[in-house]
Amino acid sequence: MSEEKMITFTEAYTRALDEAMAADPTVLLLGEDIGDKQGGGVFKVTAGLEGKFGSERVRTTPISEQAIIGAAIGASLAGMRPVAEIMFMNFITGAMDQIVNHAAKLRFMSGGLTSVPITIRTRTGAGTGNGGQHSDMLEAWFAHVPGIKVVVPSSPAEAVGLLRACIEDDDPCLFIEDGVTRVVKGAAPPPDYKIPLGKAHVEREGSDVTVISYGRPLADIRKLADQFAEEGVSVEVVDIRTISPLDVDTIVKSVCKTGRAVIAHEAVRSFGVGAEIAAQIQEHAFSSLKAPVKRVASKDSTVPFARVLENHFIYQPSDIELSIRQVLEGK
């Protein structure tokens, strides 16, 4: 990766969409306010793309989440690769029938005669001060639905590579963008950069403890890993990238080596993605485990409005640190 140029997450999303549309005329965009007339979406991710690729391929929609996903599904059945934007993840609740009963199942129910190569981009995350209906991390729901892939990037380069891969994938993909870190910068990847789906990434090798995560917490984990290194503690960092289908082998292999695991995610703790990862680890690395697998997550509650409460609701980097120390002590 060229270290020269730095780009933000938002620039990464835009670049992936731009490259995908330029490379493949069947790639289409639809969503609320995404056109040029509307300024390219409330988060500006699609700014300029309508002008560049035309109003047939880039469509601003009414506020109709079911119609948005339905149109994406239908177009994909006719050979297109639509990328639908659902402005905030909490609004995906309006399109669950289309996503779960149709997008995820049509390949199976048709006996393989049809497929639904759509990508759903959505944005969420606590820390924006938007309160209970604009901040939920609901990835665990979709991970529990066979037939759809769930992807979360942890750097602008990953954002480019994973979004490109989602668009090229022949199955429906849910691509989740973080609302808080969208202006955070990272190294720009080379042109036409793609990252395979379904593969976890061991981004830092270590021998004492494995920390497994996706998305936003990885920034905290990278800092903590450096900090622990100074103490002589060697942390292995696994960025799963694709939540479902989950790359269990890479995770298990790592924990068999380190004997200790901490999982961190922003979603609320109970019945979250961390539960599946912990269940897999204890099942497949049982005899290697020197301590229980720990989970760090946000509190089992609704995302509050007041900043003091919202900050308290979200998982704390200090919780990750504490959990690492606990597993190191075998607790």
Partner: protein, 328 residues
Amino acid sequence: MTAAKEFSAADLAAMYHKALYIRTVDEGIRGMLRAGRLALAMHPPTGQEMIAAAMGLHLEQSDYLVTIYRGLHDQLAKGMPLELVVGEYFGRATGACKGKGGPMHITHPASGVMVTSGVVGSGMPIANGLGWASQIKGDGRVTVTCFGDGASNIGAFHEALNLAAVWKLPVIFLCANNRYGEMTTYADATACEKVADRAAAYGPNMAGVSVDGNDPEAIWTAMRDAVARARSGAGPTLLEAHTFRLSGHYFGDANTYIPKDEMAEAVAKDPIKVVREQVIAAGAASAEEIDGWQAEFQAQLDAAIEAAEAAPFPALEEVEMDVYGVAS
């Protein structure tokens, strides 16, 4: 639509030919269920055949269809090979979807049968996407999405019709108003007098038409106009076809919630009976010819059933296949 083709005796015969084919298959499958040679949840199209016949006659094979659990008539009218449909009902490896989808999810892109949904209203938003693709490609295809009166009360209907009108999509929203949604009457669930009244909510781009779906000429003509409108890029149509479910909501429905006289009147107006007389009166076909068609359809069905019953069940590995495509 100046040069629009007028309904002829030949068209009447063609309508009846398709409708009779559908009825023969429908009755044959219900016979299998009655005989216990088949066990499944079936939603018979009995009495709604003319609507499907009109659709089938006006659409090209390349046009798209999105239908519902009560879709046998639509799938057959669109030209799906009979043995694929029957094989799917029997849950065999030779079925259209290898027995994995079943009657509520029959799919056959080669015939334009793109989706069959078991969720009320869900097909309409998907139909828009097919229409959008046609608009982009300029392939001139028309998409028909079938649904019932009860489905006109669900959110997906509204979102889909609004988007279709705003985007002026080549989609026909074909509503079979059969007066009931499961056990609930039209009036107990639907606030407007006619489903087609709802076209007013979607402005001038959305045509709204309400016809007697059991009257061959009326539904044939309305379908002709809706297809012409869509194909010419003039926009979508909400086409309401009044009809009745002569076999109730599902096979085995005792229909206790349907007033006796309402059912009796509907049975008396069974289009397969009524139109048969019209065809003969119009000299479009003789009683003997019609009996000949029926015999031929019966033979085709018997062969399909025999083939299905002789066919293998899908391999158990199929449970974990087609969940995802080959890793990209």
